[in-house]
Symmetry: C2
Subunit: 151 residues, 2 copies
DNA sequence: AAAGGACAAAAATATTGCTTTTTGTCGCTT
DNA sequence: AAGCGACAAAAAGCAATATTTTTGTCCTTT
């Protein structure tokens, strides 16, 4: 009995969703109540609550519903083990992107593309490359022109 | 003399850029050689190399040149202390977004918008909310219908 | 109270055509 | 080898429009 079972009123209070949203999300399958009463009324489980609240937060952070849906779609593909991404996963967001942290990795929830390379490491990398060129060094010293660049 | 000074050939080898790109980037001010020889030839400093390679990596990760330029523009606004973002900053990327890690924070290089909320914390939060509702609990046990939802 | 339907405003997305940017290639000069 | 210029293809961005999704409001039914 870890579940708990919440009525519509309770859910509205706990999630700060509008009644319309709750209905619509249910109808369109974004978050459905875990069970239904004999009278056809929704009963939301605790995990449903978490999912609803997560979706709400994503919305508030500027992620559109449609993007949320697409992310969920993708995630079932990339992480089939994650049954309910909105409940289980660790997400980070701006308006345009949803990042999923999973183990050591981070990837885009939508495209699955992995996020990469702390560029800090690049200096070291170039340094290594530098050693592959035996001949170069302080060969040139003249500096006739200073740059006025962007980067 | 931490600089080092690299000829065009060396730079091409080290950065895996095309000759055309090197020229164009120089002309458009993305990354310019630190100094010029009496004959008008480019001499790239070590930091230039790092900048070039960083830009190349961003490109490879799917960030367009134009976006890179705009990011650099923004960064000089958000982090005026960062003289050469491509050399100094710690960036993370997908095709659409460049994230900058700076101290404790992470923000979008383009918009400056801060990134937020590990959603993992949500469960705990809802649990807390739950306690504000004294009346609910395992009041309902009937489950007549299983859901077939997305999340 | 909860669900469902209907209508409309707002928000988001997709599409299309147009402009600008980036890159490659060739040829010429130093 | 390095730089410069010109032409063209590819990629990216932009703006205006159409289409779809989401949400609110009102009304009816159980």
């Amino acid at each position: 009995m870890t579940q708990g079972s919440f009525s519509r009123q309770q859910v509205l209070k706990l999630t700060e969703l509008s009644s319309r949203q709750l209905s619509y999300w249910r109808k369109t399958g974004l978050v459905c109540p875990q069970s239904i009463t004999p009278g056809g009324h929704a009963r939301y489980a605790f995990t449903d609550l978490v999912a609803l609240r997560t979706a709400k937060r994503l919305l508030d952070a500027g992620v559109s519903l449609q993007r949320i849906r697409r992310c969920l779609d993708s995630l079932t593909r990339f992480l089939p083990a994650a049954d309910r991404p909105l409940v289980e996963l660790s997400l980070v967001v701006t308006g345009d992107v949803v990042l999923v942290f999973h183990g050591e990795r981070a990837f885009d929830a939508l495209t699955g593309q992995e996020w990469v390379f702390p560029i800090a490491e690049l200096a070291a990398e170039v340094e290594k490359l530098q050693q592959q060129l035996p001949e170069q060094g302080e060969l040139f010293s003249a500096e006739y022109n200073k740059r006025g660049e962007l980067a």
